[in-house]
């Protein structure tokens, strides 16, 4: 019995290019007041989703027989060709315009797709998309499918458990790593701590050219257009202004350091005496 993995992937504007433009003060917002219109910003697969594909490939390499499907909403996207070149089994494009959907709509379409395939044992998603950073689709999808969701994974291991599969996930939490176990089917979101996603090999690229991208019409998934009407709409986008008020403290390392500490003490950001001494005297006095 082979493990059916479905990875959800999104095309995003390259966040590094956006970051460079923003830092240079050259990020252009379109006439609609919300779109980033610079054609020089590349469109690529959300990096966390690439890592979700990487997680799927590692599960296969660890010895579990898998079918890996990568699904994305939109048409004519290069990201599915990229996915195909990595050695996944089937790239699938759901024909709908992502710009007209909110996250609920995205989750509904993805859920309908998973159901149209008779379910999946493991659905892998990136922890969030690097454009809107919302990170809500995996949890919405989990609820639509009635599946448990484990977020922010550093690693995902699959074991056979009876006539099914068990999934063991190391999560990155604010308090350090946590290991959890869940029975498949389940949804897991992958974080950057998984490590670098692989690059396609030349052979992979050649094979991808022959691989056909499966297209699925939203209407064929049985999702009524009414149910896709967005409740959350993007009204505006802007680059936050930073009021720069930095005072550069001159001098040698020691001069600058002494001047800075004196300033911080004068402003009572720091106490007026060496900190460890204060701690000691307080402790001994108590």
């Amino acid at each position: 019995m082979s493990l059916r993995i479905i990875v959800c992937a999104k095309e995003v504007l390259d966040p590094d290019a956006v970051n460079n433009y923003a830092l240079e003060g050259k990020l252009v917002i379109g006439d609609d007041g919300k779109s980033l219109t610079q054609s020089s910003i590349p469109r690529l697969m959300n990096a966390y989703d690439e890592q979700a594909i990487e997680a799927a490939l590692r599960i296969r390499e660890a010895g579990t027989a898998c079918t890996i499907t990568v699904v994305s909403i939109g048409e004519g996207q290069d990201i599915l060709k990229h996915a195909a070149s990595l050695g996944i089994d089937e790239p699938v494009a759901i024909q709908a315009d992502p710009a007209t959907l909110d996250h609920h709509g995205v989750a509904k379409l993805l859920a309908a797709f998973v159901q149209s395939r008779g379910g999946a044992d493991l659905v892998l998603c990136g922890r969030q998309a690097s454009d809107d950073d919302q990170g809500v689709v995996p949890a919405l999808l989990a609820e639509h499918l009635g599946l448990p969701v484990v977020t922010i994974a550093r690693s995902v291991d699959v074991t056979s458990a009876g006539d099914g599969f068990g999934v063991r996930v190391v999560r990155v939490t604010p308090d350090g790593d946590e290991t959890v176990a869940v029975a498949a089917p389940a949804i897991v979101t992958i974080s950057n701590e998984l490590g670098q996603a692989r690059y396609p090999t030349m052979a992979g690229r050649m094979a991808a050219r022959k691989k056909k991208i499966t297209t699925v019409a939203a209407a064929d998934l049985g999702v009524a257009a009414d149910g896709l009407r967005p409740r959350v709409t993007l009204a505006k986008q802007f680059v936050p202004t930073v009021k720069s008020a930095c005072e550069v403290i001159p001098g040698t390392a020691d001069e600058a350091a002494a001047a800075l500490i004196a300033r911080l003490r004068a402003e009572q950001v720091l106490r007026n005496e060496p900190e460890p001494a204060r701690a000691r005297s307080k402790d001994s006095g108590a």
């Binding site: 966040p15 956006v18 970051n19 923003a22 830092l23 990020l27 919300k34 996250h103 609920h104 989750a107 454009d131 950073d133 919302q134 809500v136 949890a139 919405l140 989990a142 609820e143 639509h144 448990p148 977020t151 604010p174 308090d175 350090g176 946590e178 290991t179 959890v180 176990a181 869940v182 389940a186 950057n192 701590e193 409740r231 959350v232 993007l234 009204a235 986008q237 802007f238 680059v239 936050p240 930073v242 720069s244 930095c246 005072e247 550069v248 403290i249 390392a253 020691d254 600058a256 350091a257 800075l260 500490i261 300033r263 911080l264 950001v269 720091l270 005496e273 060496p274 900190e275 460890p276």
Partner: protein, 327 residues
């Protein structure tokens, strides 16, 4: 007043939802009150899990007439199956237009799960909520903090996750006397599908709660030099923190990572050493009261956010600062 809070006032209630003693509640109550006022809505607070010991005082200070307290022995975390079921049960009994949750690690899972469960809309990463022409507009961060987006909320119910680090807390002009209402929820049949095998080791102080942070980045050049960050932090009575690149490199523990995929901090003093100031990092420290930047590159983005800057090699400046503090 309690009796008024039925479905009759359904579309005009704003509720703050918090988990136990999680931080940022007073900031969120301050925001919630202003949203409620803007909508002409009633204002409520629902506490899940063990309530803060001074819950009545906090509620009174923020003019919350009634605090709904959901306590259930099986509740383990804010994002788990029992918590989602408990809040979904609560949401079926108590209507609201907007439910505000502080954006903690667990809340990032809870908010969308609950939204799907009760068919509400959801927006995360909120930095502010305003009423514009009768519509609810949520300002959120996007592109790792490089841009801000404004989402307009449509009809129906919404759950909004708010990053409280950038908000201020202010008591209501006319504080009220609050009562605590215990809300029984039947979640006995719900059990957690995800089992914790090994818990994270929480112990020790957390950088989110530190008053003084000294954070190191790639400019340190080498793992061994992270010691310089720790020494200055110790001299200042603060904690050492780190940027994501050096956590990825293994120079510092993940629990010390500041930023979008790390922790959101709001110390009195934040000293960033050898950190370039990428938006993803600034998300986690922009709320610092005083930010000091040390960087060799005078054009580094970090200086745009800093109050004070020293242009130079952090390997020289950090020990000099430690000496200056020790006097």
């Amino acid at each position: 007043m309690a009796n008024e809070m039925t479905s009759a006032s359904s579309q005009s209630r704003v509720v703050v939802c918090s988990w136990g003693t999680s931080g940022g509640v007073e900031e969120l109550l301050t925001l919630g009150r202003s949203v409620a006022n803007g909508l002409g809505a009633t204002f409520g607070w629902v506490v899940l899990g063990p309530a803060p010991h001074d819950v009545t005082e906090i509620a009174s200070r923020h003019d919350v007439p009634i605090v709904d307290h959901l306590e259930e022995p099986n509740l383990q975390s804010f994002g788990g199956d029992v918590a989602v079921a408990a809040l979904a049960a609560y949401a079926r009994e108590h209507e609201f237009r907007v439910l505000l949750v502080p954006q903690t690690f667990d809340a990032r899972v809870l908010a969308p799960r609950l939204a799907a469960r009760i068919d509400a809309g959801v927006v995360m990463n909120g930095l502010g909520v305003a009423i514009e022409g009768g519509k609810i507009a949520v300002t959120a961060s996007a592109f790792g903090g490089d841009t801000r987006v404004v989402y307009e909320l449509g009809e129906g119910r919404f759950i909004v996750g708010v990053s409280t680090a950038s908000l201020g807390a202010e008591a209501a002009q006319k504080p009220a006397s609050a009562i605590i209402r215990h809300c029984p929820v039947d979640v006995a049949s719900v059990s957690e599908r995800v089992q914790v095998v090994t818990r994270s080791e929480a112990g020790g102080p957390r950088i989110e709660e530190a008053d003084i942070l000294v954070a190191g980045g790639r400019g340190l050049g080498d793992k061994a030099n992270y010691r310089l960050v720790e020494e200055l932090a110790a001299a200042l009575g603060g904690m050492a923190a780190a940027s994501r690149p050096i956590v990825d490199e293994g120079w510092a523990e993940p629990a010390r990572q500041v930023g979008l995929t790390g922790k959101i901090t709001r110390p009195q003093l934040y000293i960033a050493a050898g950190i370039s100031g990428a938006s993803q990092h600034m998300v986690g420290c922009a709320a610092a009261k005083t930010l000091v930047a040390i960087n060799r590159d005078p054009d580094a983005a970090i200086f745009r956010y800093a109050r004070y800057g020293i242009v130079g090699d952090c390997l020289e400046i950090l020990p000099a600062l430690t000496r200056a503090v020790k006097g």
